[in-house]
Symmetry: C2
Subunit: 125 residues, 2 copies
């Protein structure tokens, strides 16, 4: 579906066009739209003159996708943190969990900064 929206030679695409083009049912289109919308990758486009819904990739969709990944990083960080709290100090487990927490802590700090740097560099073009 993302590929279909990427390659479309129009600004936005209707649900029936997606169904037809991809050879899937309207129900599947509806489900995919719902999922991709909540993730923030696509958006509904108001289409005056047509009663059909139009969809398109959101501006900056890829940065959004990367930021979504960041919540995975956060989850790993928190899991490690809770693990450390539950484990006895000075055990192999504590050592491993500390390495894990430090790594994901680092990434959780740096990844958003990286995406931000992309945004500003993009601005200049």
């Amino acid at each position: 579906m993302l590929a279909a929206l990427l390659f479309a030679d129009t600004d936005s695409v209707t649900a029936p066009e997606l169904a037809e083009g991809l050879g899937i049912s309207s129900g599947s289109v509806s489900g995919a739209v719902k999922m991709l919308s909540t993730v923030g990758l696509i958006e509904r486009v108001p289409a005056p003159g047509s009663r059909r819904e139009h969809y398109r990739l959101r501006e900056g969709a890829w940065a959004t996708l990367m930021s979504a990944q960041n919540s995975v990083v956060q989850a790993m960080f928190e899991a490690a943190d809770q693990g450390i709290a539950a484990a006895d100090a000075d055990t192999p487990a504590a050592r491993r969990l500390t390495e894990m927490r430090d790594f994901y802590g680092f990434m959780f700090r740096e990844l958003p900064a990286l995406v931000e740097r992309w945004q500003t560099e993009r601005q200049r073009l």
Copy 2:
């Protein structure tokens, strides 16, 4: 399985211990070991005196995992690139694909650098 290896209070864990502790069959352990080994997250540990295989998380496993993600980024970059080659210039599709390629190109350059920075900062501790 990763959690089991993380929390183990010994340096390494045997396959039967993993099966017993997780309540899964030896076949499943074998499959998981194979998968995690090829990804580089765990390693076999030579265990003199025991005939059983011992496993443990590899040093720097999390950095490895992040680097593996990078190949996804690369795939996205290449997909965008091929898309641009296939699309007509000055179309909405070309514009979208260019944004995608630029973003993943940026990430493909910067992510390894980020992991590397982690490695060197880690060194100092």
